[in-house]
């Protein structure tokens, strides 16, 4: 029985710079980097020393808490530099790529014939395990705890998000192989959600529970879908894999090669031609965005404008990201900006803000906070954009004063930082919701396990 997901609470933020459906190959970068901070909560143990030669798929580091979780090099080449920060924390492992890529051979597999244990071990060995993330806590999945279900959201509703129908077109074989394999890891269902009226390559897969999603963002957030389909209770775990990562797993199973290349959407008003490019995870931003980016006072984001990470042009694409957004920085003053009528910014109120008049208009928003940080004052505005059956402000406050009992009781197990992206966007007090949630989840994970 498949259940459709329809939500009303939420907000579609329409921005200038939708990627045109045209894909070019970005030139291969000379340097790639894998950043342990992309894998939240992992403490890396380095395997590859500076100067070592690696193939694509060779291990760079593994997780201190579970030695089976390996993190692979996306390309073949030479480890040139391990960048460390305070207390010798590993910030990034840089690899100078070979001109012709050499892949480590993990052997083609027949997913149908594999047992659960074999699938698990294959994902460990090939460095694909980090693609499997878990809720609660929104971290790389703990392999020792069986998930009650696996969720895959193939509907992207975030601002300017890459159109998964387009980027994954023609990948049915890979997706099917991956689904067949990972479905052995759970006794529950594999939930796949796609947009309504879709021709998504995921719509016709076998062995899945298909759901059609409609409504404004965050309808595409996997957290919203979990809450609507099978909410997480205390002690339960669900696993989450993105469709683009499934393709990598599928290709590994079919060919034996770990090929972490994906189609990246270049979006936002600071791109002269927003479009799609193919690139390998960890590629240099400068190479991916070559000849396209207006880098004058620009905020470059690996990911979307709500939950992505700020990167500089000399830095690298995030491990999981399939989108780069570039918007103008807003580091300027605006005369009487707090009381004059506003036509060029988005607002959910109508407090002399007029975005409600033009729901279809696309806005060119910058990074200005549009006001200073304040204590929580306004009530009721978060609920309008928050579809989960949770009291968002009460949960945020519980996370701030770190009352573990309340954090648990109010729904702390069910949320991820990205679920609070919209409430952060509309927040009149400019509170850092996602940061509060991230820190609270880390505390819960430490104290409650």
């Amino acid at each position: 029985m498949s259940k459709d997901i329809r939500i009303k609470k939420g907000l579609d933020i329409k921005l200038v710079g939708v990627a045109e459906k045209k894909t070019t190959n970005s030139s291969q970068s000379s340097v790639y980097a894998v950043k342990p901070e992309d894998f939240h909560g992992i403490t890396p143990k380095l395997v590859a020393k500076e100067g070592a030669e690696v193939k694509a798929g060779d291990t760079l580091f593994y997780s201190k808490s579970d030695e089976r979780i390996l993190f692979p090099s996306p390309v073949s080449g030479k480890v040139t530099e391990v960048i460390r920060g305070a207390r010798r924390k590993v910030l990034a492992v840089k690899i100078a790529a070979d001109a012709t890529q050499v892949y480590k051979d993990f052997g083609a597999k027949d997913a149908d014939a594999m047992s659960a244990e074999e699938v698990k071990n294959h994902l460990f060995a090939s460095g694909c395990w980090p693609f499997v993330k878990q809720r609660p806590y929104d971290v790389v999945a703990n392999p020792n705890q069986a998930p009650k279900a696996i969720f895959i959201s193939a509907y992207a509703s975030a601002p300017l998000a890459a159109d998964l129908e387009y980027t994954l077109a023609g990948k049915e074989a890979e997706l099917q192989a991956a689904i067949t394999a990972v479905s052995k890891l759970t006794e529950g269902l594999v939930h796949v959600s796609v947009g309504a009226n879709t021709t998504s390559p995921l719509a016709n897969l076998k062995g899945i529970e298909l759901h059609k999603v409609s409504g404004p963002h965050p309808s595409g957030n996997v957290g919203t879908q979990i809450a609507k389909l099978d909410p997480i209770n205390k002690g339960e775990v669900v696993w989450v894999i993105t469709p683009q990562d499934l393709v990598v797993i599928g290709e590994l199973l079919l060919t034996g090669k770990l090929n972490v290349s994906r189609t990246i959407a270049l979006t936002g008003s600071q791109f002269s031609k927003p479009a799609y490019v193919t690139a390998i995870s960890g590629a240099a931003i400068a190479d991916v965005t070559a000849n396209n980016l207006n880098d004058d006072n620009t905020r470059i984001i690996s990911g979307n404008v709500l939950s992505g990470k700020e990167v500089k042009v000399e830095e690298f694409l995030g491990y999981y990201d399939n989108q780069i957004t570039a918007i103008p920085e807003g580091d300027d003053y605006e005369f009487f900006g707090w009381n004059k009528p506003i036509f060029n910014k988005i607002s959910t109120s109508r407090a002399l803000t007029f975005s409600w008049l033009t729901p279809k208009k696309k806005y060119d928003l910058n990074t200005n906070t549009n006001g200073e940080h304040r204590a929580f004052v306004v009530t009721g505005s978060y609920e309008e954009v928050f579809p989960l059956d949770i009291y968002p402000m009460q949960l945020l406050k519980a996370f701030m004063y770190k009352d573990l009992d309340e954090m648990e009781a109010l729904g702390g197990y069910e949320v991820a930082p990205e679920d609070f992206a919209l409430t952060e966007f509309v927040c009149v007090s400019k509170q850092p919701h996602q940061k509060i949630i991230r820190e609270g989840l880390d505390l819960m994970r430490e104290e409650l396990g």
């Binding site: 707090w338 109508r350 990074t367 200005n368 906070t369 549009n370 006001g371 200073e372 927040c427």
Partner: protein
């Protein structure tokens, strides 16, 4: 160099010093700051900030303030010459009326803002936090909920008390339990009861006039509370004294239209239910004020009024009772007189001190209306209950929210139980 650049340089110069919050308060008043979003959060933010939110409330209050200024003069002159009431519309919007407003009401506004913001700035400098916007609204509410003849020194003392005890001791805007404007009003009422109640303070100069002319500055609620008592009105121009009752006198002086439009004595901004409803429309349309609280407060007041009407209809209370007058007031009239409408629209909707959950807002608003009318009827000393009802519910709002949120918590627990059962 432009003003923008000059101010920017000054801001950089004073960064980290004691005076930075005071400077920033003025700077951010002129310019939306150049702050950008931080790592780990959204990279874009919606257009609203707290200043904008507060600004909308102030704009919704402006009609009430302007009306109050005219009304201050109108009530003054109409008290001297009752014949003015015959043609309200012709005699209301006159420059003479406005002048009284400028002389009597504007100083209240200036003192309220001056003293309140001074306290805010001092606290911001001492505690090193930014000057928060809460007082922008409080400072406008205060002059609208005090009688026009409130001495400025009393107002100053009350504002200092209200801002310090009502807000700053809790940590400033967003942390307070009681509505600061109502704390100020309550302080005035309890600290200077002989001045703040009775029939003298509501009309400018009524104290002086009364001795010579026996003219009363009674509010509507005052008239109704004493509706059965005998009242002797001195005849104008040497005519014979008229003996009547308070209730009859009120009906003679003020029509339903007067009460709804606000051509009656009362606190400066609370009299015009019509303009308050326009304010409510602004707050609801802009999504700044909670329509749930506003609506349920009116419903709660109507329900309590109806109950009292039924009590009277069933002859449980007789005319000899001192509660008879206000109990017998028709339920919908309760909504147009006194401070109920103003309280429900502008005070109960304060998001900090009110209920924070949507379900809680219904209960909170309803109880405010309900208890307001109850206190109004049963308080022998002072026939008004809105500010006490709201302060009372301010205290109970967290409790209401607690039980609403517990409902959500229980639902979550049950989900687990069903699974494990």
């Amino acid at each position: 160099m432009s003003l923008k650049q000059n101010l920017h340089n000054l801001k950089e110069k004073y960064k980290g010093t004691k005076m930075a919050p005071a400077f920033n308060a003025i700077h951010t008043f002129l310019y939306l700051p150049n702050e950008v979003t931080h790592a780990g959060g959204t990279h874009i933010k919606a257009a609203d900030d707290l200043k904008r939110t507060m600004n909308i409330v102030i704009m919704a209050l402006i009609p009430c303030l302007l009306f109050g200024m005219f009304n201050a003069g109108y009530q003054h002159y109409a008290a001297i010459d009752n014949s003015l009431r015959a043609d309200v519309l012709a005699n209301f919007f006159t420059f003479d009326n406005l002048w009284i407003g400028i002389v009597k009401v504007l100083p209240l506004v200036i003192v309220s803002y001056g003293v309140g913001l001074l306290v805010e700035f001092i606290f911001a400098v001492i505690k090193g936090h930014e000057v928060e916007e809460g007082y922008l609204v409080t400072g406008m509410l205060v002059p609208l909920i005090v009688p026009v003849d409130t001495p400025l020194w009393m107002l100053s003392v009350a504002v200092v008390f209200g801002v310090v005890i009502g807000k700053e001791v809790f940590g400033g805007t967003g942390m307070n339990i009681l509505n600061p404007a109502l704390t100020i009003r309550a302080f005035l009422f309890f600290a200077y009861p002989t001045w703040m109640s009775g029939d003298k303070v509501w009309v400018y100069d009524a104290v002086n006039m009364n001795e010579a002319d026996a003219i009363s500055g009674e509010t509507m609620l005052g008239y109704y509370a004493k509706s059965g008592q005998e009242l002797t009105v001195k005849g104008a121009n040497g005519a014979a004294d008229i003996v009547t009752t308070y209730g009859d006198r009120a009906n003679e002086l003020y029509s339903t239209f007067d009460k709804f439009m606000g051509f009656i004595p009362g606190s400066v901004g609370e009299t015009s239910t019509f303009l308050i409803l326009i304010g409510a429309a602004i707050l609801i349309f802009t999504k700044i004020g909670s329509w749930r609280i506003i609506l349920s407060a009116f419903v709660g007041a109507a329900v309590m009024g109806l109950i009292f009407n039924q009590v009277v209809a069933a002859d449980i209370i007789t005319e000899s009772s001192k509660f008879y007058g206000l109990m017998n007031t028709v339920w919908w009239e309760h909504l147009t007189i006194g401070g109920l409408a103003f309280g429900a629209v502008f005070m109960a909707t304060d998001p900090v001190t009110g209920s924070q959950t949507n379900k809680g807002k219904w209960i909170y608003g309803f109880l405010i209306g309900f208890i307001s009318i109850m206190i109004r009827v049963f308080n022998p000393a002072y026939p008004e209950g809105v500010f006490l009802a709201i302060l009372l519910m301010n205290v109970f709002a967290p409790t209401i929210d607690h039980y609403v949120v517990q409902g959500n918590v229980k639902k979550r627990l049950n989900r687990t139980k069903v699974k494990t059962a």
